[in-house]
Amino acid sequence: MNSKKIANLALFTTIALAVYAAESTLAPILPVPGMKLGLANIVTLVMIRNFTARDTFLVLIMRILLSTFFFGQFISLLYSLCGGLLCFAVMLMVNKLLQGHYLFLTSILGGTVHNLGQLLIAFLLTSVSGVLVYLPFLVISGILTGLFTGLCAHFAQKYLMPVISRF
């Protein structure tokens, strides 16, 4: 891996981390655990469309690990990892199907699956079936935020990619 690539990947990681930090200061709207904007996904989406899966995976793992070290407890690592990896796998598959078009669809599905993955972990950890009542809330939130981040990612990468020097 040459230094240009390392620098670029580090830059992407930093952007994702900064966006995640900024978003964590926003107050939650509903008392549903796990409902958030998911803006860090914008970086993941831009990378899924324009870079290799391996590079995207690297940035995703680095972002999850660093964000947990800086901002979270150990337990949130499990949640983030589960949601993030599930979301990554689904977005990778959907993006391949759509061949890079309709990024907002990829984003919607990824965001929804991310929320569902976190709900699954919450259910497994608390062993209370009552938490599953959050499911429709999280799906709706996942669809709406996925649409928003998908559109952001689409326009970001449209104007950003010609400027980024390939490595």
């Binding site: 655990p33 407890q73 599905l109 950890l125 799906v139 709706i140």
Partner: protein
């Protein structure tokens, strides 16, 4: 290109259906047609049912403190007819901000400390606790 468009349309319709179904579900949850006052609150800690309280039979306010293995503290206050998280040392404080519930389908959840308070219908007259 044509195949991609077809896949996109299928996905789009699927997402729309999912959205509509969940909207209906949310409406059902938020405005339950069977609002019965004074339900039974179940308090779960680490997946174990710690207390079952019939809110209608509560005459005076009392507090229940839950401490987990790594020292995390949750204080639950039980008032006549309602229950709520008074204090928690979790970072997001969602559970505390939710306030007090009396007949809602949404539980009070403190995920980092693994505390869940759910409400359920008290069928008929039931004793609060049974010992053998």
């Amino acid at each position: 290109m044509y195949k991609v468009n077809k896949i996109a349309v299928v996905l789009g319709i699927g997402i729309l259906l999912l959205f509509i179904i969940c909207l209906i579900a949310v409406r059902q949850i938020v405005e339950p047609s069977d609002i019965i006052p004074y339900q039974t609150a179940d308090i779960y800690h680490n997946g174990i049912l710690v207390e079952s309280i019939s809110l209608g039979l509560v005459s005076e306010t009392w507090c229940l403190t839950l401490v987990s293995e790594n020292g995390n503290v949750n204080e639950i206050e039980i008032r006549p007819g309602e229950i709520g998280m008074l204090y928690a040392d979790c970072p997001d404080q969602l559970c505390v901000k939710q306030g007090f519930i009396s007949n809602s389908h949404l539980p009070i959840t403190c995920l980092p400390n693994r505390v869940v308070i759910t409400l359920r219908n008290t069928d008929g007259v039931q004793p609060d606790a049974v010992t053998y």
